[in-house]
């Protein structure tokens, strides 16, 4: 139990996917202009991440390895991720069409979000159990969501700030992302891996 909690803490705070591994920066900058959008994107990504982490572990452990066809790992993982993304896309289009419209291409792009495939591939190497794989998935998703939500809050506040013209928009967003990473450095060493 403790190891699962530690895995989640480590992936959320210490080895945050976005701020220390620099995975998933594209949705971070693209879908964070509004708080509501960022929450939607976070939920979608967390869902896909968890599903992908669990699914890929199962497929790898019980299908690919026993049958000795690990060379199909990449393609089968992508199939799983694509299916999860497609499912998310369908749900979102139906239940909140406006959010779907705003996120636009970013939802299908979760498929190519390096964070998702990254977690799936890393899991194969480091997970010793199914639960650990799920924990990595949840942790990765929560870490992404945390950064995403905090970031969108700051960006909304920046709408009212007197930012110098050349720095408006993406420039100040990148500076802010750097500041966030600086803050997260403080968590270094919390969990020994």
């Amino acid at each position: 139990m403790t190891d699962l909690v530690l895995i989640i803490i480590a992936t959320v705070l210490v080895n945050n996917l976005v701020l220390t591994k620099f995975l998933g920066l594209c949705p971070l900058l693209g879908a964070s202009t509004k708080f509501e959008t960022a929450v939607g994107m976070s939920l979608a990504t967390t869902f896909v991440l968890t599903l992908a982490a669990a699914g890929s572990y199962l497929v790898d452990r019980y299908v690919l390895v026993p049958l000795d066809i690990e060379y199909l790992r990449l393609i089968s993982f992508i199939v799983i991720i694509a299916a999860a993304v497609q499912f998310t896309d369908t749900v979102m289009r139906r239940s909140s069409p406006m959010l779907h419209q705003v996120l636009g291409l970013f939802v299908p792009l979760i498929t190519t979000n390096c964070a998702v495939l990254g977690i799936a591939l890393l899991n194969v190497q480091r997970s010793v159990s199914f639960l650990q794989a799920v924990a990595y998935g949840i942790g990765g998703g929560l870490g992404f969501s945390l950064v995403m939500v905090l970031f969108s809050g700051v960006r909304e506040r920046l709408d009212f700030a007197d930012v110098p013209t050349p720095f408006r928009g993406t420039a100040i967003a990148l500076v802010t992302a750097g500041m966030m990473a600086l803050g997260f450095i403080g968590f270094t060493g919390l969990v020994q891996e």
Binding site: L150, V154, R157, L158, M179, G183, G186, F187, L190
Partner: protein, 345 residues
């Protein structure tokens, strides 16, 4: 007869921003005296470098942005940032380290976000964190406090100046003889070597409650903070909440296992606790807006500080805690708006 046409209200009762900022500077004097007494005059050099660089950067940016230079230079906010950063640095700091931190604080953390009132992150702490990451060795080297050893010799002013200018001691002087880890760092290192707190605090670096000298510096800082509270320049919410956030976990773990956890009193009077509680966390621009929000904000800073001190790799966590909670401010503000009069019960 013609009369002036003004919009209501026609009265204003508040002290202006420059006056408030000046009071903050005055309130830092006791802490400064403490630092100079225990660690020598190096801190003055830090302040001079930081102040000159801060005002220079401020003037430059304001001129480039075509803002009224005189008005904003005289608001003292850049000076407060500079002094807070300089007082957080070790008294033996080469000038370029201080200057780098100050440039980052004023240009990146303050003016890229729009200057006074618009900065999301506490400029002084942003500058400090950058230095902590970029110059870890310089940031860890504190001179020995006065009174560690009976035959202790103070560094000569010339030596200090040389180190300040070049980053190196004269050939016949060894840096290691004059510097030591801070108490927080020392505790962290020795606990890692499986020594108990009782053994650690018996060492020469430690005084009655916390680090030698540090306990007095923190007390002096709190004195200035108390004056700010009394003058109502800062309000009680953030300091109180931050202390609770820091001391309650400290107390719980101290009760559970006093051998491996410093006492709450130790935390209270160590490192930058008091500077953080009264002068850094209370910076209103980067803090939460409502009273309730400020309680959460202060609590967060306290807790994260404790987490970093206790489990993290860095000896003190105030800078990181402040930056992280700055980040959470928009979110806190969103969920802590006070109920408006006449809407619900």
């Amino acid at each position: 007869m013609k009369f002036a046409n003004n919009a209501a209200p026609h009265w204003r009762g508040a002290e202006s921003v420059p006056v408030l900022m000046r009071q903050v500077l005055y309130a830092l004097v006791p802490a400064l005296i403490g630092l100079v007494w225990f660690f020598g005059s190096g801190i003055i050099l830090n302040i001079l470098v930081a102040a000159v660089v801060a005002l220079g950067c401020e003037a430059l940016v304001l001129r480039i942005r075509k803002r009224p230079v005189g008005l904003f230079i005289s608001d003292y906010s850049a000076l407060v940032t500079a002094v807070l950063l300089a007082m957080s640095l070790p008294p033996l700091t080469p000038w370029w380290v201080t200057a780098t931190g100050t440039v980052f604080a004023i240009v990146f953390a303050k003016h890229l976000y729009g200057g006074l009132g618009h900065n999301v992150f506490n400029p002084a702490m942003a500058g400090y964190a950058v230095l902590l990451v970029s110059f870890p060795e310089d940031m860890a080297a504190w001179p020995l406090p006065r009174g560690v050893a009976p035959d202790q010799q103070a560094l000569s002013l010339l030596t200090v100046l040389q180190y300040w200018a070049t980053g190196a001691m004269p050939i016949d002087v060894s840096v290691d003889a004059f510097t030591a880890a801070t108490p927080l760092n020392s505790v962290k290192g020795q606990l890692g070597m499986m020594r108990t707190m009782q053994e650690i605090v018996g060492g020469p670096l430690f005084g009655n409650i916390a680090g030698r000298g540090w306990e007095w510096i923190n007390t002096a800082t709190a004195l200035g903070g108390g004056w700010l509270l009394y003058r109502r320049i800062i309000r009680w919410q953030i300091p109180t909440a931050m202390l609770i956030g820091l001391l309650v976990p400290a107390l719980v773990l101290y009760i559970v296992d006093p051998a491996t956890h410093p006492s709450p009193a130790f935390h209270l009077l160590s490192g930058g606790t008091m500077l953080g509680v009264f002068f850094i966390a209370t910076d209103p621009v980067s803090a939460a807006a409502s009273n309730r929000g400020r309680l959460i904000y202060g609590l967060g800073i306290g807790i994260i500080t404790y987490v970093v001190r206790n489990w993290g790799a860095y000896p003190d966590g105030i800078a990181f805690a402040v930056l992280l909670m700055n980040l959470a401010v928009p979110l806190i503000d969103r969920y802590t708006r006070p109920r408006i009069y006449g809407h619900g019960t």
